[in-house]
């Protein structure tokens, strides 16, 4: 087993009193599509910048394929970056931008031309070489930035919220493309985002950041299905957080726990939950029809509220509208309730 592509060992980064990164240890395997997910200011971008070499850790170590690179400047690291603002050189053409890394390395001209063409094909912008970045749309610039970053064939490619500036449709399209390109070139991708859907959709594994620390690392399914902490449960997807008295009543334990709204079944008021199931009765306070599904808010008889999402298999907008004020019995599998850490 070869060394991990990327290793953070007890990395700290403090700015005065601000602990931007507060003890992060992490291993990313070779060829993995790994995401760092977290709200802004959670330390994920600082981690990325320490990996690329723009910042130095206050303490700790950063390793690339087993080699300690903590003190290496960016130009001596086998990492390339797709910047959030793309950072395309405005005075150079698209082809010159893409060729930049090769020009620095003094690669022979015919070889540069060939690889630039290849790279532009890869990001589906053939024939755009002669344009200036100013003449491109946001999505096109994003592709050029990607082509430029991967042309040196780095062993790790880091992407800093690369899709943040794109509109929804384009973003979804680029998600699929990025994933495809990653499979094609086989480089380790380290993807930073605050968009949990994006992280879930694209990653092999992801790390959830909060206040300079990692709350949980796992596959998208693990993180979604078995959130470890209250923060993860709340940040990744929507969830019903069960605390204090409500938790006591529904689960029998006081500790914080979570249940996803789609895991709760809504039954007729006189129905009885199954053998492995727990349940509660309540009143529908709100029903929001969302096309594919309907989102209910149910006020429980003993106090407290649960969100429930039901697919609209045989229900239409009129049913949803009339649901308001109806009594229901809720039921869920006991295993769907996940205990959480503070």
């Amino acid at each position: 087993m070869s060394a991990a592509a990327v290793r953070f060992v007890e990395v700290l980064r403090h700015y005065g009193d601000v602990r931007a990164v507060d003890g992060v240890s992490l291993e990313i395997a070779d060829g993995e599509f790994f995401s760092m997910l977290g709200p802004s200011g959670s330390g994920k971008t600082t981690c990325l910048r320490m990996l690329a070499g723009f910042e130095r850790p206050t303490a700790g170590r950063v390793e690339l394929h087993g080699r300690d690179v903590t003190d290496l400047p960016p130009y001596e690291r086998d990492v390339n970056t797709v910047f959030q603002d793309y950072a395309l050189f405005p005075h150079l053409t698209v082809a010159e931008n893409v060729a930049y890394g090769l020009t620095i390395k003094k690669v022979a001209r015919p070889e540069i031309r060939r690889r630039v063409d290849e790279a532009l094909d890869l990001v589906r912008l053939p024939g755009y070489g002669a344009r200036k970045p100013g003449q491109l749309s946001g999505g096109q610039r994003q592709r050029v930035a990607l082509a430029r970053a991967q042309i040196n064939r780095p062993r790790v490619l880091v992407l800093d919220e690369p899709l943040g500036a794109l509109d929804l449709k384009l973003r979804q399209q680029m998600q699929t493309e990025l994933k495809g390109i990653q499979r094609q070139v086989g480089i380790t991708f380290l993807f930073v985002t605050h968009d949990q859907e994006e992280a879930l959709a694209m990653s092999d594994r992801l790390a959830v950041f909060n206040q300079g620390r990692i709350e949980q690392v796992g596959t998208p399914a693990e993180v979604y299905e078995r959130p470890r902490t209250v923060f993860v449960a709340g940040f990744v997807g929507t969830t019903n957080l069960l605390l204090g008295a409500l938790a006591e009543r529904l689960t029998g334990t006081a500790g914080p726990a979570a249940i996803r709204p789609e895991r709760i079944r809504m039954l007729a008021p006189d129905a009885v939950p199954g053998a492995d199931e727990a349940g509660a009765a309540g009143l529908i306070r709100e029903a929001v029809y969302l096309g594919m599904h309907t989102r209910y808010s149910v006020e429980l008889d003993g106090g407290g509220e649960l969100g429930v999402v039901a697919q609209n298999l045989d229900l239409d907008a009129a049913d949803a509208a009339s649901a308001h004020g109806r009594r229901v019995q809720l039921a869920w599998e006991r295993s769907a309730v996940r205990p959480l850490v503070g």
Binding site: F54, P74, Y75, N80, A87, F89, I104, K105, N152
Partner: protein, 301 residues
């Protein structure tokens, strides 16, 4: 009533544009371009050698006079000085502007700004005269040189023909120093503004793609700062070409274009020749800008 005017202008944006741009365009058209046109017309008149009267008919006689050895000498002297001042100003200004744009923060930054702009608050003639005192034979500069035992260095510099003279205040070198001092802010500020507009991420991207700092500077910083350098050089170059106060105060009796123009339209009463002479710096500037454009100085604009 006011509301109706506002509504009218809102519905007819062309009208509000015309109202906004009309006065300045009129001013520019009549006063500015008009004066320039009058100048151009005058330059094609000539002086009748017997009567000393201006003959108001088209001829190239005045322009022919520009090619007299004395006049060519003036043009050469002025242009060489303008180039020297521009290059030196760019070399001195760049590091300072770079520091101001990239590194200086807070108080240091404000102090530097103030330091650059403050001299512009005082009269430029006063500053030129104060330099005359600094550069004089009994002035502080030569005193400092001899105080540290380097008087001979100054002597040997002043003995270089074409550059030196009896003292710094009567030498071409003195003129150069004062020009450099007076125009320096006009070079610093545009370069600083250009550098300020270069996002930090571009420099990071260059480093990220394998370029050490020196290469990043040459391939990214410098090309993106070039429009600022060119803008600054347009100031320093054209201001030096047209100035008559500095060469009239500092240096020997050799003339610059500005002084010659002043003399011809004033004491000599030869307005056509003065007009023709002002056309020369305009042509030189036009040539300079064309050259800068060829160089790609405006590509990044």
């Amino acid at each position: 009533m006011r509301r109706r005017v506002a509504t009218f202008l809102f519905r007819h944006p062309r009208w509000s544009l015309a109202l906004l741009l009309g006065p300045p365009l009129l001013w520019l058209g009549i006063v500015y371009l008009g004066a320039l046109g009058a100048l151009l017309v005058q330059s094609f008149f000539h002086i009748d050698e017997f009567t000393g009267q201006v003959v108001k008919s088209f001829s190239l006689r005045t322009y022919a006079q520009l090619f007299s050895p004395a006049n060519l000498d003036i043009f050469r002297r002025t242009t060489v000085m303008a180039f020297a001042v521009t290059i030196a100003a760019a070399l001195v200004a760049f590091p300072l502007a770079y520091y101001m744009a990239r590194y200086a923060r807070g108080r240091v930054r404000s102090l530097l700004y103030l330091g650059v702009i403050l001299p512009l608050w005082s009269s430029y003639i006063v500053r030129v005269y104060s330099w005359k005192l600094i550069l004089a034979k009994e002035g502080i500069l030569s005193w400092m040189f001899s105080a540290v035992g380097l008087g001979w260095v100054l002597e040997s510099i002043l003995s270089v023909p074409g550059v030196g003279g009896p003292s710094l205040s009567f030498s071409a070198l003195g003129r150069f120093l004062v020009f450099l001092y007076i125009w320096l802010p006009y070079m610093i500020l545009p370069i600083q503004a250009a550098l300020e507009r270069v996002p930090k991420s571009l420099l990071e991207a260059s480093a990220d793609l394998g370029a050490p700092p020196g290469k990043t500077f040459r391939k990214v910083t410098l090309p993106l700062a070039l429009p600022g350098v060119i803008a600054g050089s347009i100031f320093t170059f054209s201001l030096t070409l047209g100035d008559f106060i500095i060469p009239g105060t500092i240096g020997d009796s050799s003339l610059f274009i500005g002084q010659a123009v002043l003399r011809h339209q004033g004491t000599a009463g030869n307005v056509p020749l003065a007009a023709a002479m002002t056309v020369v710096p305009m042509l030189i500037m036009a040539g300079y800008l064309t050259w800068a454009r060829r160089l790609g100085a405006f590509d990044a604009l």
